[in-house]
Symmetry: C2
Subunit: 250 residues, 2 copies
């Protein structure tokens, strides 16, 4: 039974964290909103699940927003909850409860960071254009670069440093001696941050060499390398979470 991912079709966004897990595992999945309406896919197929999209899917448990995953009759929203569900099924998390909780805790901290990245260009309202909140974005981005970015990266570096079996299977990995969905998400964070804040990230990664090495290791995994070179990987752009506005970097 294949997985159906529902996410906006023209951006990486939060859906990318799910795509990377599905790709890394070689899972059978459909990126529904990128399909054609003639096949029952495309944007109409996504919108019918949303509260303000007509709700003719008649769901008892409607998602608040994309991404959401459909697997058989189950529909699950919230990026971190999707990965919580997929982790054991795709072999992308350890078997113990402690490993699963810790992996999830890492993911939730990355989710917090993603929200902060989004708010560097939208500090006032998601409903307004960037151009309508640019002075405030300059202020928020400055604090993000100086305070928040190093704080998050330092923490991930410390996590990698304190992982007692990080290198056992050719790591480094965040949890134990094998790849988890949290590693894939940290890879994506580094990719996105390098796109959005090339100058600030160059400085910040000097203090986080293990984070940089994890990024490089994930990029070189065969399935991920194939995915990144394929048309399935949407390019970064200025509609997504990670946007290259040079005035916000520095």
């Amino acid at each position: 039974m294949s997985y159906e991912l529902y996410y906006w079709p023209t951006i990486q966004g939060r859906g990318e964290f799910v795509r990377l897990a599905l790709e890394a595992a070689g899972a059978d999945y459909v990126d529904v909103a990128r399909g054609s309406a003639a096949e029952g896919r495309g944007m109409p197929a996504l919108l019918r699940f949303l509260p303000d999209g007509g709700q003719d899917a008649g769901l008892v448990r409607p998602p608040f927003a994309p991404p959401f995953l459909k697997h058989g009759r189950l529909v699950v929203g919230q990026t971190a909850a999707i990965l919580l569900y997929l982790g054991p099924r795709l072999g992308l998390v350890g078997k113990s409860e402690a490993a699963r909780l810790w992996t999830h805790q890492l993911q939730l901290t990355m989710a917090d960071m993603v929200t902060e990245v989004h708010d560097t260009h939208h500090p006032i309202a998601s409903s307004l254009y960037y151009e309508d909140q640019k002075p405030q974005a300059l202020q928020r981005a400055q604090d993000f670069r100086k305070t928040r970015l190093p704080k998050f990266l330092d923490w991930f570096e410390a996590v990698l440093e304190s992982n007692p079996v990080g290198g056992a299977r050719g790591g480094p990995y965040l949890v134990g001696g094998r790849l988890s969905y949290a590693d894939l998400s940290l890879f994506q964070l580094v990719q996105g941050l390098r796109y959005a804040f090339p100058k600030a990230m160059k400085r910040a990664l000097k203090n986080a060499p293990r984070v940089a090495a994890l990024h490089d290791g994930v990029a070189q995994r065969p399935r991920i390398a194939v995915y990144l070179g394929s048309e399935r990987r949407i390019a970064f752009n200025e509609d997504g979470i990670f946007r290259r506005y040079p005035e916000l970097d520095g």
Copy 2:
């Protein structure tokens, strides 16, 4: 073995979502940072777990920030992950994987909302005072009141409305026919929003009568009522997430 909750001792904050779960279940727990340093508690006991607090706890899996929970040797951070761990142990979540995922998904959406509430008074930087970002806060709070608050409440109302067994055991409940940690968290959100935005919430709850009824039902539960009247319940104040700045309401 008692639970140890670590959170800032003078605010409800994100720790309150965990306190409410522990209180509703009548669990044996210690609110560590509110104890005395002479007993090995208080703020020093909290700070030693944090990356910038000395790290002499020597944790392999250090939390990024409070709240975090210690239970035996396990230390788990991130509010939603703590509740994911506590839910089955405290009888505050259903038994099926689908029920647990859905309850968690609700919690994660509430966590997103909590972050947005925080950012109404701190849209630029957590490291600055409210007074230093007040014009921006007025703008963000306006968007929150007009756009985000109704969107979130409408969704929770729809969730309650579509729960097929909501009323079976004297509900309404978000998931199935019994209390879950998500209900306790929604109660806390309504309490906090009523404190911070009394005018906007009065309007918004007119369209969300089931959310208001859930709040009232939780408040009347015997253990919760006792807790709310006790000294263990910290009063809302202007250091927490929900702050009453009348200029941000309207």
